[in-house]
Assembly symmetry: C2
Homo-oligomer: 677 residues x 2
């Protein structure tokens, strides 16, 4: 295989701020030194310290240690958690399990890398989310659906790859606390349907065993129609006994070969994929059938809620794709086994740069839920444009669903009234319902590119998602700074400029693309670059409904009624054009171009202004980046510079097409008289 970088585990030489003395020795107590996670933690520690501070690290097997790192077992530490505290030259890393040790050591390495003195430290960390997963949309031919970083490093020519890069991937994932990985595309077709057969189970086992050494459970995406496609019964009906028998035998075979397997992810009844609806069954019927069969092995079923009609007629203004997930799943609340988790996209549409939070969160009161976000930049710049997504994920996690508010259905007071552990973060962490099968996952943005993520700066999303999943209290800025220091440099200007580029980048992208939450307007299928009407007359349920007078989709109680899927406080908020958060105004309302925003600006003028601003902000990013030449690795500097050229071209194209489109349609001139075509 080709060469690749070490991402944020590059362990470049750093200044010793007093940490060297603390890290010359390491000793393990209470854990078996040969336990794989412990062994890997020690190996990582020695590698990291050697790289960052020079010299070697001694593993002390017995006897007293005057100074150094002491890893010890403390059962009262929560699972996958750790405590780091320094006293008298001994830096104690306490944990109850292997993952805790790994995460604790990575934390120590992070502090050293960021040149943070550890004398007197005392921090305790525990994961906020039980499940913290990457979902890879890798196909077995090596391609990646929505992959912008080269081909797959998991698959090639219908073979499963397990090699040095797999291990480096595990190190990166574990270093940010990821504990579950789905290795194959949710659209399971062709060779991938055979992953659960002896053709591939040997290699899957090898990969799962390697993953386990880093505290990561391997999951497979499953083809719900597998019985039919693999030569079993000619049905996938979950109520058909032949089908159940076939699955029972199949799952036994899989778990016999791969006991480490975490379970399965299923995309059913979606975009042409078969599912329970095909047989007149509910989604719960389908999920439960599989859940019962994997339960004896400790397996779980991740069931995607991305179910909608993808053959909508654009002339039909009654049907609303945004409603689909809620409509399809709300009736099954409470029907699922406890080892089923519904995996819900952050928004009701599909990973647009701005969407409201899915109303399923919180509305489901008796069902395990998992938040699905996308760090693969399908609609957010293809890892050509910089788009640091952690601020968006923070917004989603902070969204108050009113799930636990006793009067959630009546309450019309301001949303701040209900703060009883009912944010999305509360729901998916299990705090709201006290459930353990919950969490957060991201459609991953990696590939075989040298730097893993196409644009080096997209590494901040790969890194940041994991960090946020482990500790949802971290700010987007903290995460950005960590990544910059680890991956780029501790240089003050690099850190400052890096943050100035990353932190506003999501809003910059939003400014030069589709306005006020309306979404889409992208080149069909490809999803990069503008095409204002590209999805306007399509079957995908993705419309802006712009005419000479106005724009937007009426999703209020006078329109599709989507707003009413929220708990009352939010429903009321969204339902009124005056109260609706303006960044989502056109998602919920069809309004005239002359409608005035709270700023006093009209919608049409907002469109013009924000598009000019977006391009200017990209120009400013480029200016900032240029000042970093020579202060960061040349390869990274060049990689990002080259992407910035393309981002600027893209931003200009968006600006001009969107502005021209609305000018040509509305006939309303830009108040500032700028060039519109």
């Amino acid at each position: 295989m080709e060469n690749w970088t070490q991402g944020w585990l590059v362990y470049r030489h750093v200044e010793d701020v007093g940490n060297a003395q603390l890290t010359r020795k390491i000793k393990i107590t209470g854990f078996d030194e040969e336990q794989p996670m412990v062994r890997n933690a020690v190996a990582e520690f020695r590698r990291g310290i050697r790289g960052m501070l020079g010299g070697s690290v001694t593993l002390v097997h017995a006897g007293a240690m005057r100074e150094g790192v002491l890893v010890s077992c403390r059962q009262e530490i929560p699972a996958e958690g750790y405590r780091i505290r320094e006293a008298d030259g001994i830096l104690q890393v306490e944990a109850a399990d292997g993952p805790g040790v790994l995460y604790g050591i990575f934390h120590v390495l992070r502090l050293v890398a960021m040149e943070k003195p550890m004398r007197g430290i005392d921090v305790t960390c525990r994961p906020d989310n039980p499940l913290r997963m990457y979902n890879h949309w890798d196909n077995m031919d090596g391609s990646i659906e929505r992959g912008y970083s080269g081909n797959s490093f998991f698959f090639e020519d219908n073979r499963v790859l397990v090699n040095r890069r797999t291990r480096d991937y595990c190190r990166l994932a574990a270093s940010v606390g990821i504990n579950g990985v789905v290795i194959n595309n949710v659209n399971v077709k062709e060779a991938a349907s055979w992953l659960i057969t002896e053709r591939y189970l040997g290699q899957v086992k090898k990969m799962a065993a390697l993953f386990a050494e880093y505290g990561i459970r391997l999951f497979l995406s499953l083809n719900f129609a597998a019985p039919i496609e693999l030569g079993g019964p000619d049905s996938a009906d979950p109520f058909d006994e032949d089908v159940t028998a076939w699955w029972r035998q199949k799952i036994a075979q899989v778990y016999e070969a791969v006991p480490e397997l975490g379970g399965f992810l299923v995309k059913a009844d979606s975009e042409g994929r078969p599912g329970p609806f095909t047989y007149g069954r509910t989604q719960a019927d389908g999920a439960n059938m599989l859940a019962d069969l994997v339960r004896p092995y400790g397996g779980i079923i991740l069931w995607r809620c991305f179910v909608y009609n993808c053959t909508q007629d654009w002339r039909d203004t009654k049907t609303d794709r945004a409603r689909a997930a809620y409509d399809n799943f709300i009736g099954t609340d409470g029907d699922y086994r406890d080892n089923v988790i519904l995996q819900i996209k952050n928004g009701p549409m599909d990973f647009q740069i701005r969407e409201p939070v899915s109303p399923l969160f919180g509305a489901l009161q008796k069902t395990n839920q998992m938040l699905e976000v996308q760090i693969a930049q399908e609609y957010t710049g293809h890892q050509i444009d910089v788009c640091y997504l952690i601020p968006m994920f923070k917004e989603v996690l902070d969204f108050n669903t009113c799930a636990a508010c006793p009067s959630r259905s009546e309450c019309t007071a301001p949303v701040t009234c209900c703060e009883k552990r009912s944010t999305v973060a509360d729901v998916v962490s299990g705090r709201t319902m006290h459930n353990g099968n919950a969490g957060i996952c991201a459609v991953c943005n990696t590939g075989r590119d040298e730097n893993w993520t196409g644009n080096d700066l997209a590494g901040a999303n790969f890194y940041g998602f994991g960090r946020l999943a482990y500790d949802t209290g971290l700010s987007a800025e903290t995460i950005a700074e960590e990544w910059i220091r680890l991956a780029l440099s501790n240089d003050r200007q690099v850190v400052e400029h890096g943050k100035k580029i990353l932190l506003p980048s999501r809003e910059t992208y939003e400014k030069y693309t589709s306005p006020l939450g309306i979404g889409w307007m992208v080149t069909p299928m490809e999803h990069y670059g503008p095409s204002v009407d590209g999805y306007e007359y399509s079957r995908w349920g993705t419309y802006h409904r712009a005419d000479w007078q106005g724009i937007g989709v009426d999703r209020t109680d006078r329109g599709t009624g989507y707003a009413q899927q929220y708990a009352n406080p939010m429903a009321c908020l969204y339902n009124g054009a005056e109260t609706c958060p303006e960044e989502l105004l056109l998602f919920f309302h069809h309004l005239p171009y002359q409608h005035r925003l709270r700023s006093g600006k009209t919608i049409i003028q907002h469109i013009y202004d924000s598009h000019f601003e977006g391009v200017e902000e990209v120009e400013e990013m480029i200016r900032l980046w240029k000042e970093l030449e020579g202060k960061i690795e040349e390869r990274i500097y060049q990689n990002v510079s080259e992407r910035f050229v393309r981002q600027l071209e893209n931003a200009r194209e968006w600006r001009d097409q969107v502005n021209s489109y609305f000018y040509r349609k509305s006939g309303i001139a830009d108040e500032k008289g700028r060039r519109i075509y």
Copy 2:
């Protein structure tokens, strides 16, 4: 290979209208019976008569013949011409050469098939165009660029196929007078670049020899960068002696292997293909270099004029793709060797349903010219929608270029003033300039489908183009009737309904697609189905410039000046919105939606009306077709019926998207209050 039909050479049983007696015997005099074209003519005759009239046909080798067909050699008959006359029971077919014999026999068979009595007949035919060609855009992997009838029957898996289907193809082509065929795509890449090497020359020879048996010369599309790609000099500069030497040796090798080869077709400096411009040379420099080298072998060079900037910025309203062919070639008029023919598309853009005629015709006064049309329905319905194109080709051929008018540059009188052999038909037949290297070619619509053309009705274009190329005086109706009788049935209702479907089908397609000559508005790349803005913000130079007030491209002397590329009478006509033919109004003028056409109707109302009418006309076609069930072969009935379902859906989609687009943009309601979305 799979099965396939015999197209219009199906020779189904017909009524004997007195022709049986005349065709029981055939005798050859003045020609060698074993000359391949004569032998094939006799074989075809026996096959045809047997099929249509039953019984057998005797080939009389010697002695007198009281009744029958007498093929005789008459040197005064023009090349590829023939005379058919009957007297006293002898039907004489006279010709000066093999093609004349073949064409004469096919004429006789056509008469028998159409149940036309031949007693007393006396007709003389000669080809109007020296070159009558099909251009195939077949790739060596078996795919066909813009192919809508299955894969290639010339190529498969990078192999050249010569088999029974090749012969049937030759029979079909020869039966309508085709005498040249380019077998491979003008975009010559990968394996196709190697067609001129020993890897393929053996098979090319085999195919060329078979073609020759039917009077067809085989041509190859050439990669102008072949020297570089085939390991010769690292240049394709026509002035580089190494390049010339390489080509000399290469062409000698090719002609030694394939002496029958007609020559080469070259698409240079177009859509990413290299050419003389790459080296600062003129198109003439490139063409002449090759022409000099093929001259000793009697070869000719067909040089395409499809040269334009395909990376235009949509913001740029000065550049006009329509101008490109003229601007790039007019300066080289007279610079070409006499064995070079410039191959000019019928219109200045790219095979839209309605375009003005290319101003190059006639403007080039000292250069061989060939008309290129497209029967592959790239922009005209993909052989799903019925679109009989012969009426369009007739319009093009009848267009008066004023080429031979002595006062062509001054004259501003009505166009009818100049009728001195200056129509496109005159120019490309060689009548205007008395040149022999001229003619007409069509991008072909065949593939491996059972019926050759996807939609059986598309066979009318495959047939009709050849017939028209041979005899430009034939009417579109005559040709349609011939094809219907041969391919479908002589039944009166089939003939009547068939004509009612075919003859207006081009205008029907025009009605439900883009209005008033503006073109495009198709799904990008695919070119089927509507996308009004699909090419509006693209790099392809294809814009409608619609805004809230109006639509159209100003190509007058106040705009891009394209209209001024025509001789004065036409330039004046097109330049005025009042005089411009209305079907081309928006091609030449940007006008408000409220502009009134001569009918008194506004442009916007015309858009609405024509789109509703287009769909109604498709419904009428379907009604007519349904009445033919049981009167034609069931396979054909079903094939066309299935396509009609898709055509109707397509027409409705076009109607609704175009009408909605302009309603949403203009805000002007349909006067008749019909449903617009």
